[in-house]
Symmetry: C2
Subunit: 197 residues, 2 copies
Amino acid sequence: MGAPLGELVLDQLFREARSYNAWLDGDVGDEQIHAIWDLMKFGPTSANQLPARLVWCKSAEAKTRLARHAIDKNRAKITGAPVCVIVGMDLEFHEQLPWLFPHTDARSWFTGSEELRRANAFRNSSLQGAYLMLAARALGLDCGPMSGFDNAALDADFFADQPNVKSNFICSIGYGDPASIFGRSPRPEFDVFNKLL
Amino acid sequence: MGAPLGELVLDQLFREARSYNAWLDGDVGDEQIHAIWDLMKFGPTSANQLPARLVWCKSAEAKTRLARHAIDKNRAKITGAPVCVIVGMDLEFHEQLPWLFPHTDARSWFTGSEELRRANAFRNSSLQGAYLMLAARALGLDCGPMSGFDNAALDADFFADQPNVKSNFICSIGYGDPASIFGRSPRPEFDVFNKLL
């Protein structure tokens, strides 16, 4: 529990932040990538599952390799960014629970059902993807998340040695070019998608 | 793009925040609930899908009704909190895209495949659930997310009039009782779950 954060902080994290389609010059250094992880890893996941597996494509070679699996209009959003990260999910995350959640036998909750593992991996790696974006913004960076790519082809290329890992979404990170975005799409008032009982 | 936020802000959002199991006295007012929505709604979703449908259980009656669908150990985490929110997802979210994403016919991308709609609703409502938790923390509140409940029973009770809406997870919100948590579970170093190419 803390005090409400200041208005400029709320603007940077939520109200003024946008998803960018093109990127200004400026590198994202390895230390910034590590700093994003060192924030996002503290975001809550069910039973500390931490199912996200991240591949940071930072070299020109890695970005070109990744862009080949994207739909046409997303390719330049990848190759033109300082870094584009693949948010994957480990469908066998439960094998890590003996050390990630050591005070009970959480692994046994998941051994019997691949469907349960898949749902948990998808939900919790998506949560982690959101933590990643807000951590990047908190560190002064901008994001450009995308799901327009061939998941199976990407997985065969980047996770060939980890067949239990599947891609969830990808996200370019850098310094967004304001010229690459349009007016913000509508954000509805509370009553449209909320009920208060 | 902005400057990196201050260390205390990063602590409040990520490093010092915890998932609480019990709650101190203190109401969460309707204006705080609206304020959470008015931040989280700005978090990015694919094609501005905004598939989350939220039911805020704030009255004692609503919390008791919700707790009936939870596993035993989660019931007091719901009834003892100032508010517990159901994060649902609309599997027919695409019907809203003509006004949420008006500059192209995004609705047509989803009409042909229930599987595609389900994956998008699950991914993007999970992202929104993470935005919800970080928005609550940004406003000085604590969270206690849970997935230990009977989804089908909850849906039949709370979404009987919206059969296209399914529960994703639930989250208590309030002022966390430090006595209700244990030491933090491990958070791995970068190299464990990340690759940099």
